[in-house]
Amino acid sequence: MRAQKWLMTILATGLAGATPALSQTIYPINRAEILEGSRFDFKVEFPNAPTSADVKVTINGKPAADIFGKPTAFTQNEEGQKHSALWLRGATLPAGNYVVEATQGANKATVKWEVFATAQPRRAKNVILFIGDGMSVAHRTAARIMSKGWEEGRFNGELAIDDMPNMALISTSGSDSIVTDSANSAHAYTTGHKSCVNALGVYCAKNALTLDHPKVETISEVIKRRSKMTIGVVTNAEIEDATPAAMVAHTRRRSDYNDIVKMFYDVKPDVIMGGGSPNFLPKTTPGSKRTDDLDFIAQFKAAGYTIATTKTEMNAAAASGTKKLLGLYNTSNVDGAFDLRLAKKGSVAKFPDQPDVAEQTRAAIDMLKSNEDGFFLMVESGRIDKYSHSLDWERAVFDTIMLDNAVKIAKDFAGERNDTLIIVVPDHTHAVSLVGTYDDERPGQLLRDKLGTYADSKAPNYGPLDADGYPTNVNTSRRLAVVFGTYPDTCDTGRPFMDGERVPALKSADGKTNVANEADCTGPLATRKAGNLPFDANSGVHSGDDGILTAMGPGAEKFRGHKPNTYVFRVMAEALALGGE
């Protein structure tokens, strides 16, 4: 007994000694996979602010500066903080395996990197990356039932996103947490590096300012540096939002919208479409959210871009042969398919001529496809996630159908060309599941009485489909029962929210906790639920469940089994042969 206690003490002490709080930290982090020739900032942080004489950094046993062929810079007490830092910004390495050691007194930290080459010749002329933000298995299944129909256990058609030859499970964790956010997860696709929540194109070091953290190159920057390919960034979220921003941005804080607009301007993707216009306007323009006098509408115009603010203007630009387009269709997010088609709520009255993601995709491909050097297009259906946060599953599933329509347009373009890699993937998932149908005809007065499970989960009686595969009525007597696994205090109604996006909870007067939105608590079937999330949550949260990736075209065969999200970058980089100086 005593011996066991002694052993446990030793183990505990040993573990405490291994905690990373006081050890050297090396960026890029352990097990980083780095594209050959891509730019990255090398940084080592040493705790307790040692002098340069007290530390040593080697790569494969040689001084780091020798391996990089460039001098490193050492700063004691970086930014007045209690650490010292060794930097090399804009480092590159040839392909190979690297062991980086940072020694400080008796402490040695070690990370390993794999710098990977990409085989020539390039296999894909074009890559189209579709990101269904937050798209989970239940979204797909519900979209398939709603949009294709279900009879006697079989679907009456396949979704375009399902009907692809290759598939993989994708895990989306960040370096700091099992469950991540859309900034960090999109960053994994566009850089191939694992980083932390809220980060775009950077590792999360100790720097005080959000733009100073160690950067890694985005796929847009690699493409612009190495080739004459054109680039499109298309979303129905705000263009500064995490997923589209990951194409161009380097910041520790995804909410740096004004900086992100400037980063779009610096990288200049050829086609840029989404919402979020206020951060393009100088502060003197009413409606601006900028804090300076920079007018990015004028700057993009001067750089040769056509500006579109409506679907009509977008289509006119595409039809007239425009090659560079800045399309901003809403001051906030572009309205989702449910509001554009059925409910007409949200900001549809204010912005009556907004394109949806499928229409944007068609226009973007039209503008990009004539480039003989090929194109890279990222398309996000951004509100699958946002509507899942607000537990408004019908809106989330309508935007899954919208993504499916966009993918169909891309597949029609790819056709028999066999030169276009198409990938469809979520950036993370939500805790959402399809468990049966609510049937108003079932006996009982409570919402749970109306829930048909197992043998009682009958097909829904939604209205007939419109030409684009959306049901024309979902507020019917027998409806899918889609439930969320995470929620604040809220009231379920079991019905679609025809008067506008669901608001599940509201902040209470103390500014800390959230309480159910009483507007949903008074209907005939309204059911009060005690939340299962921390009290500061006012909406559903992301899950750590794997997401499903489907793919077709050259390179797609590499997707199988289970892969980390960073692998998506690697497959795209290999298909386009982006490695090398």
Binding site: D181, S182, A183, N198, E238, D241, A242, R253, R254, S255, Y257, G276, S277, P278, L281, K283, T284, T285, P286, G287, S288, K289, R290, T291, I297, I307, T309, L328, Y329, N330, T331, S332, K350, F351, H389, S390, G500, E501, R502, V503, P504, L506, K507, S508, A509, D510, G511, K512, V515, N517, E518, A519, D536, N538, S539
Partner: protein, 154 residues
């Protein structure tokens, strides 16, 4: 909602009676601010910016009343809060993936005041300020403000 009722009563009264009460009412109205709605603030509202309405422009610097919803406040007691047209599903102060609607009105109170639940509809009175401003303390950017304001639950 007192002001419209008073006005309606006035219009139904006879001229003499009306004139007789006018002096009294003028005194009362001097404290009553002009009501303006969220929609009434703008003449046009486009992706590339909006134009303030003539009425909003004419009320600049004057005492006005607005109805709206208190956005989730930064602190339970504060000297400022954000007034929104609709109740907010999100808390832009607390979530990095949430952004403010473009048509917010920022309310700076006369004094630090306890906030109410974010679901509450509130009536705010304050002096109307128009034009871009950045709050020195919070860095918050606003186009329309009510300053030296007070509010009550509507």
């Amino acid at each position: 909602m007192q002001q419209p009722i008073l006005l309606a009563r006035l219009s139904r009264r006879g001229l003499f009676q009306g004139l007789a009460t006018l002096a009294f009412c003028e005194a009362a109205f001097a404290d009553e601010a002009a009501a303006i709605s969220f929609d009434g603030l703008y003449k046009s509202f486009g992706v590339l910016g909006f134009q303030f309405s003539d009425r909003a422009t004419s009320l600049r610097g004057q005492e006005v009343r607005m109805l709206g919803y208190m956005a989730p406040p930064l602190k339970p007691e504060s000297h400022f809060f954000v007034l929104t047209r609709e109740p907010l599903a999100i808390c832009p102060f607390c979530q990095s993936d949430a952004d403010w609607p473009v048509d917010i009105v920022v309310v700076f109170m006369k004094a630090v005041t306890p906030m109410v639940s974010a679901g509450q509809k509130v009536a705010v009175s304050g002096r109307l300020e128009i034009g871009s401003a950045i709050d020195a303390e919070t860095g918050f950017v606003s186009q329309i403000r009510l300053v030296d304001a007070s509010f009550h639950v509507a």
